[in-house]
């Protein structure tokens, strides 16, 4: 299903995105080794730098293609919060990296309507030697804010993070909880049109986690489109209205969030995915 269930304007349109990695290519990281290998092969002799575990040493290991994502398509309407679920290795993070432009797709395309901010990790760009305040400005700038915008939101950022007392101390002296609170606080004030969250609501203690969830809900209600990757069913049900399940790089399900969550939770308990509504493609196709 790739149709837009509501008639709202589209924020994110993912069309046939695929990502291939080549495994088995002997990536000789030393130029000297690469030259030696080429020289040996040219002479018809054995390659001195091929995989030593290779059984048959007369042939080079065949490079294989590994499709981390294959033909993913769906759209997200403006203001919608969609959950992306899947087992580890199903391609969720790869999809987020492609949408965040950290890596490029092999096939397909995606269209983003609006500024996008992704939280793939809290504390992006934090430098231990700088103070909390300097890091707020650094991290904010790395994630796309102008200095003016940061100054405007500075008071709110510090208040949310609860580290006001230590804001002029280098963050190498912070506890891990403090770091995480400050980092998340900066990220929560990015106010993009599209927000991607990769399992980052699992940080901090229980009271802070609740604060984060409330803040995320506020952000969603203000019209921001959210793509939320998580394993946490509760948080997903709280925040999202639709869900997508990825299985070994393909889209296995797309629909209302309750259905998606129950399908996904069931799939975790059974050995295979035997639910009739859930149809992964035959293994050979991957």
């Amino acid at each position: 299903m790739t149709t837009n269930p509501t008639r709202a304007p589209i924020a994110v349109s993912i069309e046939g995105i695929s990502k291939k990695y080549r495994l088995g290519v002997i990536n000789r990281q030393m130029l000297s080794h690469e030259i030696q290998s080429l020289w040996a092969r040219w002479r018809g002799k054995e390659d001195p730098h091929s995989n030593v575990l290779e059984e048959d040493r007369d042939t080079l290991q065949q490079p294989r293609d590994f499709w981390a994502l294959k033909d993913i398509s769906f759209t997200v309407a403006k203001g919608e919060a969609i959950a992306i679920m899947g087992k580890n290795g199903s391609g969720k993070s790869t999809l987020l990296k492609i949408l965040s432009r950290i890596t490029a797709p092999t096939e397909g395309r995606a269209v983003l309507h609006g500024r996008l901010a992704s939280l793939l990790e809290v504390g992006t760009g934090f430098n231990g030697e700088l103070t909390g305040k300097e890091n707020v400005y650094l991290s904010g700038a790395i994630m796309g804010l102008t200095q003016k915008e940061i100054t405007e939101r500075y008071a709110s950022i510090i208040e949310f993070s609860e580290v006001e007392q230590f804001i002029e101390t280098p963050i190498k002296r912070y506890s891990s909880g403090m770091r995480v609170r400050l980092a998340f606080s900066v990220a929560a004030h990015l106010y993009p049109e599209i927000l991607i969250l990769d399992e980052v609501l699992a940080v901090g203690d229980a009271s802070f986690r609740e604060k984060c969830l409330i803040k995320m809900d506020e952000i969603r209600q203000s019209g921001v489109t959210i793509l939320f990757v998580s394993h946490n069913s509760e948080q997903i049900l709280d925040l999202c209205s639709r869900g997508v399940i990825l299985h070994k790089g393909t889209k296995a399900f797309e629909g209302p969030v309750k259905e998606a969550v129950s399908l996904y939770t069931e799939s975790l308990h059974l050995r295979g995915l035997h639910n009739p509504a859930f149809t992964p493609p035959p293994e050979g196709k991957l």
């Binding site: 990281q29 949408l99 965040s100 950290i102 890596t103 797709p105 983003l112 996008l116 760009g125």
Partner: protein, 287 residues
């Protein structure tokens, strides 16, 4: 490749596709992230010099010490001629440009390997990092230039007349040329280093040798006429000798050499940026 077109504030569309041209560098996007250049420079200086005694004075102390060593070894011991220019000014002027070039190339060539963790988590145009290195090192160059002027004035007052000509107007061009050359070269090396890590080890060695071929420690006039063709390829020689000619009155440089050097710098810059841009999108798959 992604193209960002903010048509209005509300309609900011980005299209993500697999293909990336060699020359479609996202200049508009880089301009949008221009503040990040300053923020990164600030980070580099503050993080490096916190808890140090001399702080940024190190930018002047290092070249001064190096110059004194050269004066002692090359002028007093080896008796290498310096074109009639006071030895201290001779070596310092060469070192000024050389250090800027060397610092830019060395730091830029590590872009992908040392920023891998950051690049893996957030997107911003990767060219921002080499560009901020270029400006960051320019600050150090500026400090050196100020010290050079001070030393120059001291020599003037002591009676050693060093001829400053109007040709000093060419200084910004020389700086620009050095910056372009080092940015291009640094980008090229950083792109290649992703695949072949040992280039990162070879680079400092190459730069060491390059310094000795760049008329930093001897004037071009000291090279025998029949051997001069061996140095034609080096775009740094016209820059350094040109500066000495303009600031101190003695230097061997001809117009065609300067032009050739300028063309070479631009070519290296264009090639370096193109390769860097091409490699950027998949760099994390191999780093």
């Amino acid at each position: 490749m992604a193209t960002a077109n903010p048509t209005t504030n509300a309609e900011y569309i980005t299209v993500i596709t697999p293909h990336r041209g060699w020359f479609q560098i996202p200049w508009r996007e880089i301009w949008q992230y221009r503040e990040l250049v300053w923020v990164l420079i600030h980070r580099d200086y503050v993080a490096t010099y916190k808890q140090t005694i001399f702080g940024i004075a190190w930018h002047i102390v290092q070249p001064i010490v190096q110059t004194i060593v050269f004066v002692v070894i090359f002028t007093y011991v080896a008796k290498v001629p310096t074109d009639g220019i006071p030895p201290f000014l001779f070596y310092f002027s060469g070192l000024m440009f050389w250090r800027y070039f060397q610092d830019c190339v060395t730091r830029t060539s590590n872009t992908f390997t040392s920023n891998g963790a950051l690049f893996n988590k957030v997107y911003f145009p990767r060219l921002i990092v080499p560009i901020s290195q270029m400006f960051s090192n320019l600050f150090g160059f500026g400090l050196n230039l100020i010290f050079f002027i001070v030393a120059y004035l001291i020599y003037e007052f002591q009676g050693t007349h060093v001829a400053l000509s109007w040709k000093i107007i060419v200084l910004p061009v020389l700086i620009f040329q050095t910056a372009a050359l080092s940015l291009g070269l640094g980008c090229l090396i950083s792109a290649l280093t992703i695949r072949w890590r040992d280039l990162a080890m070879v680079t400092p060695l190459l730069l060491q040798l390059w310094m000795y071929a760049s008329c930093v420690v001897f004037p071009f006039s000291a090279i025998p006429e029949d051997k001069r063709w061996m140095f034609i390829w080096n775009p740094l020689i016209p820059i350094i000798e040109g500066f000495r000619f303009a600031a101190l009155g003695r230097g061997t440089v001809e117009v065609w050499q300067i032009l050739l050097g300028a063309v070479a710098s631009v070519v290296v810059l264009v090639v370096g940026l193109a390769v860097f841009h091409r490699v950027e999108k998949d760099c994390l798959d191999s780093v």
